[in-house]
Amino acid sequence: MSSPSEIVISNGMTSKGYWQDFWRHREMLLFLAWRDILVRYKQTLVGASWVIIRPLLTMLVFTMVFGRIAKLPSNDVPYPLLVFSGMLPWFFFSSALTECSNSLVGNSNLLSKVYFPRLIVPASTLLVCVVDYLISCLLLLAMLVWYAHWPDWRILLLPIFSLFAAIIAFGLGLWAAALNVRYRDFRHLIPFVLQLGIYVSPVGYATTLIPEKWRFLYSLNPLVGVIDGFRWSLLGQESHIYWPSLLISVVGSVLVLVTGLRYFRKSEAGFADVI
């Protein structure tokens, strides 16, 4: 059907024409994402509403614990809104990272039976998480309306902060996915790290709570910049942006993505042998 093009297979040759190949398999990427979305809520009672219920309940708990019981300051924003605007990127990040890290092992039957650029698998899981994220964005919208809180022009920058959350999650996810093929420890490590991560990231509280002298150390967590950016663009808090943390987020995300891609590509050829 197509004009016979010659492919040469030899050790270390997978890198040639990788991205064209990736593009050629784009339909598979979409189908895998479609499969995961379709399958996810089959045989569940409330189905897709889980996308809404999960962050909603977490928000309620966090508001209770941090806002009502601990009485942390909310910087003149309704506490639920403060929590939710932090939780949105965090949930996106943590689910993307978790799903990506398990994606290769979860699709091991595909890896050992069919050829395709392996990057398709974590990429399709990321896509699924993006869909979930967009749905929970609707919830955020509803909350903004409920609290009659109108964001200004800065909301236009929200997609950029979302992008950084995605990049960090994907970069780390690639590392974790590739390492997980070889060392299954990451299956246990990632959820554990994320569990702790929610407390060292400004999800349930505002960053302003962190004493000035610890601020920089705190900002080494690249998600701090992203979450702060979210709050800044959504809630329009007067507090200025803490530039070092933003810079760390930007540099960190690019670094993590580049190294993640490189490690993934390097170990990709051996996936089928060790999985």
Binding site: M1, S2, P4, S5, E6, I7, V8, I9, S10, N11, G12, M13, T14, H25, E27, M28, L30, F31, L32, W34, R35, L38, V39, K42, Q43, N109, L110, L111, S112, K113, V114, Y115, F116, V181, R182, Y183, R184, D185, F186, A269, G270, A272, D273, V274, I275
Partner: protein, 438 residues
């Protein structure tokens, strides 16, 4: 002729880690290594590493070329490297050294229903599986009806496949693969699915698929399937090419070696020497003692060569040596019982004349004509009887001789081109007449 696949000096090495049961390592081992170095001498570590990581060459310096539109079979025993070769050709894994050049679009079927999800409906799985196999969506749409019709699961298209019977599942799974349209098709043993009728349909479809100028690489253990589908055979053994040539020759060689090596020793028994207490002896209330005993037995070709491989078109001989310990007061009848490999008695043969009854050593010999036995494995039980006595069995040795009838290259001319199996115990040459009635 221009090639569509050229394989040059292809090798694949696997590292087998004996330190751990699974292939996926635990990170603890890796982290622990640097600390281990402090404790041990360098030499010790090297020895240990060499012991715990073993190299295994699944393929060694394999070279061959497949011409455009050629259909070749890859044959060989388990662990010969067939699957590894397929995996490299389908780009699932990389070779350690050497190269493969491929011209054209490749589809490989190493399994049916790759990526099928039990929760999805038949319809959804068709699209998913198609996409995974590299079929564009509009192409799947175009072929959708054909796929569904071929599979015969129209009624259950919107049922999740987890509710399918296993037969329906594989039928649907194969059907998607059956409508791929590549230049080069790589097929692992996936044809043996479904019931008889569906298998036939699959085989027909495979022939159709492989018919129009496609290059096909086919792996199978079934020599009948290989011969009917392919022109050439690449015979692999322990990762190396034994031969690459016409399929008849390759298949015959493979069958020969497999018999000699793996099963020859354990199954075949072209001769035996009776040993009291060791040789299997049939004893019941009708068995006598003290009159006679068996000494030995053998199967040989008409040329006299002792062998358990007998060609279907050649007569052969079965011999038994026995000793009469005393003068027997009634007629002595040696008789041979033949069984197929499932233990069903095929026939019993008796001599036409009476045999000596005086004390002494004798040899009984029975000639078996060509085509009396069909191909397959048979066992023979030599028996010495005296039917007039109250205990008529002097001895009976079940499974004493084991032999196999083979048909190299389907030489039977009465096959008239049929290449498949011909079941039955016997394949007698009977006289036929076909006369015109108009």
């Amino acid at each position: 002729m221009s090639y569509s696949i050229k394989v040059e000096n292809l090798s694949k090495r696997y590292l087998i880690n004996h330190g751990n049961s699974g292939s996926a390592r635990s990170i603890r081992e890796v982290l622990a290594k640097p600390f281990a170095r402090f404790k041990k001498q360098q030499e010790e570590i090297e020895v240990e590493e060499a012991r715990s990581v073993e190299q295994f060459w699944a393929l060694k310096d394999v070279s061959f070329e497949v011409g455009e539109g050629q259909r070749i079979a890859i044959i060989g025993g388990n662990g010969a490297g067939k699957s590894t070769l397929l995996k490299i050709l389908s780009r699932i894994t990389e070779p350690t050294s050497g190269s493969v050049s491929i011209r054209g679009k490749v589809s490989s079927l190493l399994e049916v229903g790759t990526g099928f999800h039990p929760e999805l409906t038949g319809r959804e799985n068709i699209f998913l599986n198609g996409a995974i196999l590299g079929m564009p969506r509009n192409e799947i749409k175009k072929k959708f009806d054909q796929i569904v019709q071929f599979s015969g699961v129209e009624k259950f298209l919107d049922t999740p496949v987890k509710h399918y019977s296993s037969g329906m599942y594989v039928r649907l799974a194969f059907s998607v693969s059956a409508w791929l349209d590549p230049d080069i098709l790589i097929v692992d043993e996936v044809l043996s699915v479904g019931d008889q009728a569906f298998q036939k349909r699959c085989a027909d479809r495979m022939k159709e698929l492989t018919g129009d100028g496609r290059t096909v690489i086919f792996v199978s253990h079934s020599m009948a399937a290989v011969k009917s589908m392919c022109e050439k055979a690449l015979y692999l053994k322990s990762g190396e090419v034994v031969s690459y040539g016409p399929v008849e020759e390759g298949a015959a060689e493979y069958v020969r070696t497999v018999m000699d090596e793996s099963e020859g020793a354990s199954w075949h028994a072209p001769e035996f020497v009776f040993e009291q207490g060791k040789t299997e002896l049939y004893v019941d209330s009708q068995s006598s003692t003290g009159y006679a005993q068996c000494i030995s037995g053998k199967v040989c070709k008409h040329t006299g060569e002792v062998t358990s491989f007998l060609s279907i078109n050649e007569p052969f001989t079965v011999k038994m040596r026995y000793q009469l310990l005393v003068d027997i007061p009634s007629e002595v009848v040696p008789n041979f019982h033949f069984y197929d490999d499932s233990g069903t008695r095929f026939f019993i043969s008796f001599p036409d004349k009476s045999s000596p009854t005086a004390k002494g050593i004798y040899e009984a010999e029975c000639q078996l004509p060509a085509f009396l036995f069909n191909t397959g494995r048979f066992t023979m039980m030599p028996v010495l009887s005296s039917y007039a006595m109250s205990t008529p069995i002097h001895f009976a040795l079940p499974n004493a001789l084991k032999f196999e009838i083979v048909e190299p290259n389907n030489l039977d001319t009465r096959r008239h081109g049929w290449g498949g199996a011909l079941p039955g115990f016997s394949r007698p040459r009977l006289d036929w007449t076909i006369s015109s009635l108009n």
